[in-house]
Amino acid sequence: MTPESNELEKLWNSGPDAMRRDPQELLRKIEQRTRSFDRTILRRDLREAVAGVLVAGIFLAFAVYDHSWLERAAHLWLAACGVWVILHMRRYANAGRRPAPEESLKAYQDALLARYDRQIELLRRAKYWYVLPFWVGFLFSGAATAARTHNGIVFAAMAVFATLLSGAIWWLNEGVGVRYLLNTRAKLETAISS
């Protein structure tokens, strides 16, 4: 038997329909979902704000009790780094949102892939906007303390600590993070390519 010209349509429509749900009940569920989503966003925003305030607060507190202007400047720099990283990530999160679903299918799929590209670029540049400012700040702080105490070991210890920490963060971003995103992007591209 050969499918007629409208046979495919007939087969498509012959599938089991879902139980028809009450639209009012569905509307209530959607409104609940919207509220839950809004709460999740609020919690995320709060978490980011608290993290920024915490990092900035700790280094500001150090700056208040510091013994020298150099140390104070170093800790102010580190406090500023905390604020900068949170602001940068926030600005990026706004720019990296999913495209509006009213886009055409092709434009939407292109935009989803472009979103991966932006995220990958952000992680690849993490060494500049994230790792480097903190690394410089920690070295500055170590040098300032070493200058005040005339103890070079303090500087050496801080340099080793800052370099190891920065290296780990750099590797997590540019190694693990980028690899994961490239892999997921490739899977998505394969799934949506025609």
Binding site: M1, T2, P3, E7, L8, E9, L11, W12, N13, S14, G15, P16, D17, A18, R20, R21, P23, Q24, L26, L27, K29, I30, R33, T34, F37, R98, P99, A100, P101, E102, E103, S104, L105, K106, A107, Y108, Q109, L112, T184, K187, L188, A191, I192, S193, S194
Partner: protein
């Protein structure tokens, strides 16, 4: 100028109307996209949530139907993206079993069910854009409407549909020959 509560009431009325009008089509679409039966209701609600959020932005630049299908397909693709990000293994698409046929016409029903399975399997082997085009076509959208939803030209749609239909017809016939 309309107040927020007026706008909300209008949006609620619009969503309820859309659900009443398009529920079977949206469910078919969700059923097709979501491999995991347990997650279908979730995707269905995600689609409705997408519509709910988009209603205030709808300016009538396209028909309501094409607008709705764009959102539904795009949300479904977003869910696929979310699944990939969570590294959830792809669950093979299970066929939705039709109710067992009993009594007169049971054989015909079984044959139709088998043909439907073959068609769905054939659709699932297509690339995403082809899949979306054929689903829109089977839902009764004109080439012009499919153009508005997909962003492809009508010529490209005609060519693709011709190829896809031949492929699906072939898949159904092969299944019948094997039996």
């Amino acid at each position: 100028m309309r107040s927020d509560s007026q706008e909300k009431t209008e949006a609620q009325a619009t969503l309820v109307r859309l659900v009443e009008q398009y529920q079977p089509a949206l469910w078919r679409l969700v059923n097709f996209y979501e491999p995991d039966p347990a997650s279908r209701e979730d995707l269905f609600q995600e689609v409705l949530l997408g519509l709910w959020r988009a209603i205030p932005r709808f300016r009538g630049d396209s028909s309501e139907r094409t607008w709705l299908y764009r959102i539904a397909h795009n949300i479904a693709i977003s869910q696929l993206d979310s699944r990939l990000r969570k590294q959830r293994a792809e669950v093979p698409m299970p066929e939705t079993l039709d109710a067992p046929a009993i009594g007169d016409g049971a054989d015909d029903a079984l044959v139709e069910s088998e043909r439907r399975r073959a068609m769905l399997a054939g659709i699932r082997e297509l690339g995403a854009i082809d899949r979306q085009i054929i689903v829109l076509h089977l839902e009764g959208l004109s080439h012009r409407e499919i153009e508005q939803v997909s962003g492809l030209s009508q010529n490209a749609i005609t060519t693709r549909l011709s190829r896809i239909r031949a492929r699906l017809t072939n898949a159904i016939q092969k299944k019948e020959v094997r039996k």
